[in-house]
Amino acid sequence: MIAIPDCSFNTTENRDPAAELLELSLGPQHPSTHGVFRMNAVLDGETVVRLQPVFGYLHRNHEKIAENVSYLASIPYTDRLDYLCSLTNNWAYALSVEKLTGLDVPERAEYIRIILAELTRLQNHTAFLGFLLGDMGAWGTALMYGFRQREKVLDLFESLTGSRMMSNYMRFGGCRCDFPEGWLEQARTVIDEYPEFLDEMEQLLVSNEILISRTQGVGAISPERAINAGLSGPILRATGVDYDIRKVDRYGIYDRFSFRIPIGDQGDTYDRMMMRLLEMRESLKILKAAIDEIPDGPIVNPKAKLRNLRPPEGEAYGRIESPKGELGFYLISDKQPQPYRFRVRPPSLINLTLLEEMSIGHKIADVMVILGSIDIVLGEVDR
């Protein structure tokens, strides 16, 4: 039992001081917490007065494991961070090791990486929409619509990497294997069908009155707060901050593609949802161009060493724009086969920094929607 905290910062001004506060523990086993995540909420009636996230239910000390195995052996572990987006996790890790060793990536491998990363973004955002609607009470239907479409992308992943979700695909200086025959044609069909799905989803959801009243003005934050709290990805851009690592760092070959970065205005749940819908359309543009332009050639740098890799002494921080936000890996090498320090910068954890600020003053049912709109995966939050 936790003592009831001091609630002097309550934003509900006309609160009856004699009214009793209720402490409610949400989770860790609750469908709307997206895994094993717990929140200690203090309620005044139905209004949230205080909210404290509790972490660690899925903690397995991924960083410690990685400091005791070789560089290559960490790739399958990175799949299990944000298990919806294992391919972007692989890429972020491979990018950091490439920075640490000073390794180039052949052109075809760069194209493969971009195609897979954007497909990952598509399927993550598609699943996100389904989950968010589930949190709002449209349980099942929207999720299944999303999952039906997402499965087509996962089929592509399976035929390339051998696994729907745990891909273990990217390697230092390239990729593990080339596309099987007919893969690109199949991918093109999926991409060509996607706008139809997006239109349908938009028609079904975005003009829905219930959805608008549940999301607009709920959990709004200012851009200054969002930057200071280190938010990243779509929820940072929903507040109106123009910051996308694909454009800022231009890692890989993103500078060769023309795409736009959707920017929000209010920073509320509605904007955060719309960011995802708009981002998917931009991803489709990148995908179309990449599939058209992909050159032939090697998929892995011949100088790359996988087994018994001992990078030169030094450190490197590499980051990419994963579907959830800024995913970074910080590595220190002391010329041993294992990294001396292996650190994951988890966007899901840091995006939760403002959960309390977003939730205070809203109803308890809105907390589920706000949490859903942040889009967390507990494999990455707890690591």
Partner: protein
């Protein structure tokens, strides 16, 4: 972006008696870092955030690093029986814990600048200033460093463990941490493992 040398000089201009040192990175990534004296950590962080030319408003990554005591072998000339004799002496360089901050600027779109703060040692003097008042993004990450490395952050709004449970003892990410043996007594598989280990 300004070079790291210029940033260092500007910090010294703004915070005159601060200790700032450039730690060069021998690897190919070329990400050098600034080692900052812990006493002036907060003032330097505020300067980096608010200086109109630097504007490091985004603290992306906060993490700890554990550097163990190092034994260095040195050759020393000792006078023995009116003769200079060269002998090897072992000297222990005390270890320390380190917090690393990766700073970016969203308004200026530059970065990263790597900021390092070091504790006095690994046992008692593990106190460092918390930079959460400057960048709120450090809140959970500093709690994680506190949890896994045992660095005490002064001025942190909620200095509790983040991932491990409340009554947990020890700091698992330290290099000399030994996991407790929590196997059930009398477990035949563990017993066989122990036997194999011993042989």
């Amino acid at each position: 972006m300004l070079t790291l040398e210029t940033i260092r000089d500007r910090i010294l201009e703004a915070v005159p008696d601060a200790g700032v040192e450039i730690i060069s990175n021998p690897g190919p990534s070329g990400q050098d870092s600034l080692l900052v004296s812990s006493g002036h950590g907060l003032a330097i962080a505020l300067f980096l955030r608010d200086d109109p030319e630097l504007r490091f408003d985004y603290c992306s990554n906060v993490t700890g690093v554990d550097w163990l005591d190092k034994t260095v072998k040195e050759k020393v000339i000792v006078r023995e029986d009116d003769e200079d004799v060269e002998t090897q002496v072992e000297r222990v360089v005390p270890g320390y814990l380190e917090v690393v901050y990766h700073l970016y600027s969203i308004s200026k779109k530059h970065g990263p600048v790597v900021l390092r703060l070091r504790t006095a040692d690994r046992n008692e003097g593990v106190e460092l200033p918390s930079l959460t008042p400057v960048w709120k993004s450090a809140e959970f990450q500093e709690r994680e460093v506190l949890d896994l490395y045992g660095i005490r952050f002064t001025g942190h709004p909620d200095p509790t463990r983040l991932l491990m449970w409340e009554n947990f003892e020890g700091h698992p990410m330290r290099k000399d941490y030994c996991a407790p043996d929590d196997d059930e007594p009398g477990d035949p598989i563990t017993a066989r493992e122990r036997k194999e280990e011993a042989s």
